[in-house]
């Protein structure tokens, strides 16, 4: 286990180094004089000096990278030259909203997907399985941005349920009830998307697990069906589910942006898009770096959980 974790930590360090270099290099894709482009409307000689100092623009590329990396380690992503706010403050207020949305949608996804997959896998190609698989396949073909637009059309516009439409977001601190109401539609979209994926993965894994000899063994011991499903089949199959969940949650940190943007929820994805539209390049860079780091850390966590659920994985 320790050796396994050690290898993962090394991989983590390598990946983080590459990710950070990638994020750093982004601003060098900008056309023309970087300082002029980044400063945008906030272009004053004082700002220019500040930017040069912050990014080390008068030094070589590698020295610039280490200046930038040193600042990142102190959670200092610099100040936006568009509106003067600190990038880390913006990220700090936006991230909890994403965590809340992801939490709600994932609880929903697991609560629906696991029982459905269990039931469907009991009789592969039975009526229930066919309906559930067919439905999930169809849902897979509805992109989130179409789903959210249609939901808004039906729920907020036709049924006129208050507080569910775009731009009705309030923070949890202000008003917990309205906060939850405003997150219902986005969470449904993210949640259903995850449900479909989890259902498909868990179902097909369960179907093959149920053909294993240890299931026959459990059956011949006279164990109840429920116990066999949860105790003997679910545990080995949950590995595939967990791996998928890791990828999927990582995808939500990055992919929830379109739902956030359409519902005007000031999460990290929405901030990223606003920053792109305002050409606030330092904010874009900071957000990209944050999201990438979170996802890499999440993958590391999943690898660690793999080792706990199935200790065989840690032996090479």
């Amino acid at each position: 286990m320790i050796k396994y974790l050690g290898r993962r930590v090394i991989a983590l360090a390598v990946i983080l180094t590459i990710v950070s270099f990638g994020s750093f290099s982004l601003i060098h894709l900008l056309p023309g004089d970087i300082a002029t482009v980044i400063l945008g409307t906030g272009n004053t000689p004082a700002n220019r000096i500040a930017l040069y100092k912050q990014l080390g623009l008068d030094k070589g590329l590698f020295s610039q990278y280490f200046t930038w990396l040193g600042n990142i380690f102190q959670l200092n992503f610099g100040n936006s030259f568009i509106d003067g706010t600190s990038v880390s403050t913006t990220i700090g207020t936006a991230l909890p909203i994403d965590f809340e949305m992801i939490l709600i949608s994932q609880v929903m996804a697991f609560a629906i997907a696991i029982p459905l997959a269990m039931k469907a896998a009991k009789k592969p190609n039975g009526l229930f399985d066919r309906i559930a698989t067919g439905t999930s396949f169809t849902m897979l073909s509805v992109p989130p941005f179409i789903f959210i637009v249609l939901l808004v059309l039906v729920v907020s516009i036709n049924l006129q349920i208050p507080g569910t439409g775009p731009a009705s977001f309030v923070t949890f601190g202000q008003d917990p009830f309205h906060n939850l109401v405003s997150l219902v539609l986005p969470s449904i979209v993210l949640g259903i998307g995850s449900t479909v994926v989890y259902f498909r993965v868990l179902r097909s894994d369960l179907v093959s697990t149920l053909q294993e000899e240890f299931i026959t063994m459990a059956r011949s011991k006279g164990l109840t069906r429920r116990r066999i499903m949860w105790r003997h089949a679910f545990r080995p199959s949950s590995i595939a589910l967990l791996g998928t969940a890791g990828l999927n949650i990582g995808g939500l940190i990055a992919g929830g942006f379109i739902v956030e943007y359409l519902m005007q929820i000031p999460g990290i994805g929405y901030m990223l898009i606003l920053a792109i539209n305002k050409s606030d390049f330092l904010l874009v860079q900071g957000i990209v770096m944050t999201i990438a780091t979170l996802i890499v850390l999440l993958n590391f966590l999943i690898d660690f959980l793999f080792g706990i659920i199935d200790p065989r994985i840690t032996r090479d």
Partner: protein, 290 residues
């Protein structure tokens, strides 16, 4: 790319009698064909022009005989805009997948066939890139790399798809390369090039085709998302993403404007996913574990 590709499932490995591809499969293939033909020959079809507006007379009409799917808030024909919009979605997605398979596929085959150091290096590199969410990379690069064009969008999406394509093709080639017929060809003295093109390529083709289909579906979604962010084509160019995005403001007045392009997009994605899925199970391609 989106979850369709990334989340691979474990396929049941039970030898079964081959099910025929089924009617629905051919319906899906037909629908894909209709979309492609309409997009290619849009100029010759008896439809309104995508920018024609009837002097702002017929605004936001629902479906009628003169405008089969109705008109938008500027009086432009929706059917025509959907057909011309298919050019963007199909162009970007086919282009990106073609490019990604050309580069990623060649590297994947070569690495899996030759093994050794090159394989080790390429595989580690691909793993590093797969750890990074490609949609963020696409957005980040496109927002900095201005001015944007369809070509740039295609290139960026293609490049970010290469690691995944490489993994899939490499794994498919690996399982084919250990088969006896490859050994037999080797013993007969076939050249590496001959083995790769005549023995390996036909055997990894089903995997490749099935993956291309699902990949194209994902790229259509990615392009649509980019359109919502204003990172795709110019707003005056009709594209499905642009149309859905613009119609949000007039949704209360004219829901058709949201529904038809959404339907066009969903049906095409459904067809592509279904074709990919059926080919995969038909050729019993047991899913490649990434």
């Amino acid at each position: 790319m989106t979850s369709t590709i990334e989340n691979n499932e474990v396929v049941v490995l039970k030898p079964e009698k081959k099910e025929p591809l089924g009617v629905f499969f051919w319906v899906c293939v037909g629908w894909l064909g209709v979309n492609l033909l309409a997009a290619i020959f849009a100029n010759f079809l008896p439809i309104w022009g995508p920018q024609d507006s009837n002097n702002y007379v017929d605004l936001n009409t629902g479906p009628s005989f003169s405008h089969l799917l109705g008109t938008d808030d500027l009086g432009r024909d929706i059917l025509s805009r959907i057909i011309y919009g298919a050019r963007v979605s199909l162009g970007v997605s086919f282009g990106a997948m073609f490019l990604a398979f050309f580069i990623g596929g060649i590297f994947g085959m070569y690495a899996a066939y030759r093994r050794g150091k090159l394989d080790l290096i390429l595989t580690s590199v691909s793993l590093v890139f797969l750890a990074f969410p490609s949609i963020i990379a696409v957005i980040a690069v496109l927002s900095f790399w201005t001015p944007r064009s369809i070509l740039k969008i295609t290139i960026v999406i293609a490049v970010t798809s290469i690691p995944l394509v490489y993994r899939v093709i490499r794994a498919a080639t690996l399982s084919a390369a250990t088969k006896d017929y490859v050994l037999a060809a080797k013993i007969q003295g076939a050249t590496d090039r001959r083995i790769m093109t005549k023995e390996l390529l036909p055997n990894i083709l089903p995997t490749a085709v099935s993956f291309v289909m699902i990949g194209i579906a994902s790229v259509i979604v990615v392009e649509g998302s980019l359109a919502f962010l204003g990172l795709s084509t110019n707003v005056t160019t009709p594209s499905w993403g642009n149309m859905i995005n613009e119609s949000r403001s007039v949704m209360q007045v004219n829901p058709w404007l949201v529904l038809f392009p959404s339907l066009a997009m969903c049906l095409l994605i459904l067809s592509l996913n279904f074709i990919g899925d059926r080919i995969r199970s038909y050729y019993d391609v047991s899913e490649v574990k990434l």
